[in-house]
Amino acid sequence: MPITRETIDAVLKDLIDQVPTMSVRSVTLTPSVPVEGQNVIARIDVSKSRHVLCEITPAGSLQSARVIES
């Protein structure tokens, strides 16, 4: 079974709730529909010039996080 959207949302909420100085503008997932056995990359746009990339494993673990200035 691929990771569920609910699990992804819970991981992202956990991160976002801890960093209230960043307000979320949009979230996009790659792949847009989770595939079994594959990690999901969530891109959280927090401003015009800043976004966070979160890599989430099929088990719902936050494998990595990067905050990037574009």
Binding site: R50, S61, S64, A65
Partner: protein, 448 residues
């Protein structure tokens, strides 16, 4: 920010707490072995439990409950016997399992008593004494590489820090704190003492390096690894950095180690944050100074230890070296940082990953699974930063290169300056520099 419940879950270490159960799946360093040569009996408090560590006359190590079953005398006054520790009051003798094996003056034959003291397994490795306080059988003691790396000398700095262990460990998950704590604050302190010119004239000085940490940040990252996580900063010249570069910071080894400097480098260190209880941390600076092939490190029978002072004789904090700068900001967050009121920003993303990893491993233990870095059989040497160093590629060891030059004054910025080995280390660094100059000369001749 976290909820009150989340904060308690991550910070509590007593028996039966989620975090405490996780900690009880690991071998915990509790003392330098050399300390037991000075005094073979030591009172220790670890994970909220009061215990007595001893070395008996046969050289066996034991860690048992701190009060004699008979009349509750503190066993820190115990007398080491051939096999075990005797209470000084009436001579009751305990072995390393905590069983009372002799009660003098109680007459013979003596019936066994069902009561016993706690007794936890103890082992020594690399000059540190470790204990395991979890369910038996105990896992193998991990052979992290700095503990067993050849051709190196070592010293151990120990402190008790008056705050929860997670504050110390989160410092490791925070790659940007050094810009201020070890940069601007360092400068401020030296300025106040009138020592700025003397201590920081070289552009490689810690404070100059660290002030640049905060300039030109393009990206801050944290990646979980097999043994913990790595984190760092990518810089952009376009944003004001000296150049486009990737600066990896110290490596987190789960649950409470961090490594600075590459294994095999002329100076590398584990900082180990062992919870004494919820509001105190036993902090260990395990410092290793390795020599490359071609230079021989001095032989060492015993790894010496020291206590780097964090306050002067007037009780004022000493703030002119890195560990003390860290310690003051850890303690200044309070006995247990109130994470319900914090306000994290972009630089704290790695801390979020660290907390998430900790929570995930707590969950594994709750589910009856083995957590990260739990080994039934440890490899002969575990390299938490990845593959072992390749001395044929010296550039792999260049990181933190200013610490190659303790003989040129850089030791003044680190806790190492208080260590009993510091003059030996300076001699070693001098020899390594001479060797490198000789090698460079040979390379020029061969090239010509």
């Amino acid at each position: 920010m976290l909820t009150k419940e989340q904060n308690e879950r991550l910070t509590s270490v007593g028996p039966g707490t989620p975090g405490g159960e996780l900690m009880r799946r690991y071998w915990l360093p509790i003392a330098p072995f050399a300390e037991l040569l000075d005094n073979p009996v030591k009172k220790v408090r670890i994970l909220g439990e009061d215990l007595t560590l001893y070395k008996d006359k046969s050289g066996n190590l034991g860690l048992i409950g701190d009060r004699c079953l008979h009349r509750n005398v503190d066993m820190k006054f115990g007398i080491p016997d051939e096999c075990g520790l005797r209470c000084p009051y009436h001579g009751w003798l305990y072995n390393e399992t905590g069983n009372c094996v002799e009660r003098p003056m109680e007459g013979a034959p003596q019936a066994g008593i069902k009561q016993k003291l706690k007794g936890y397994p103890v082992r020594e490795l690399g000059g540190l004494v470790f204990t395991y306080m979890g369910p038996l059988p105990a896992p193998d003691l991990p052979r992290w590489d700095l503990l067993v790396w050849p051709n190196a000398i070592r010293q151990i700095g120990v402190n008790i820090i008056d705050c929860n262990w997670l504050q110390c460990q989160e410092n490791t998950g925070d790659p940007t704190h050094s810009a201020w704590a070890h940069g601007h604050m360092f400068e401020y302190v030296l300025e106040k003492k009138g020592q700025l010119e003397d201590r920081s004239s070289d552009n490689l000085h810690t404070l100059h390096q660290r002030k640049r940490v905060g300039v030109g940040i393009k990206e801050i990252y944290a990646n979980q690894t097999e043994h913990g996580f790595r984190k760092g900063i990518r810089y952009s010249k376009a944003l004001g950095a000296d150049s486009d570069k990737d600066q990896e910071h110290s490596t987190v080894i789960f649950p409470f180690y961090t490594q600075t400097g590459k294994t095999g480098a002329t100076r590398s260190e584990y900082q180990i944050r062992v919870p004494i209880d919820d509001t105190h941390t036993y902090h260990i600076c395990y410092q290793a100074y390795s020599a490359p092939p071609g230079v021989e490190a001095p032989k060492q029978d015993i790894v010496p230890y020291y206590i780097p002072p964090t306050h002067d004789e007037k009780g004022e904090p000493i703030l002119d070296y890195v560990l003390a700068q860290d310690a003051i900001v850890w303690v200044a967050q309070g006995p247990i940082a109130d994470r319900t009121t914090e306000l994290l920003g972009r630089t704290d993303i790695p801390i979020v990953v660290l907390r998430r990893q900790l929570d995930e491993q707590i969950k594994r233990v709750e589910q009856g699974l083995e957590p990260m870095n739990f080994f039934w059989k440890s490899p002969d040497m575990i390299h938490p930063t990845g593959s072992p160093p390749d001395y044929s590629k010296p550039e792999t060891l260049i990181k933190h290169s200013f610490r190659k030059y303790y003989h040129k004054g850089f030791a003044n910025d680190d806790a190492d300056r208080y260590g009993p080995l510091i003059e030996t280390v300076k001699d070693l660094h001098r020899k390594i520099e001479e060797y490198e100059i000789k090698l460079a000369g040979q390379a020029v001749i061969e090239h010509a």
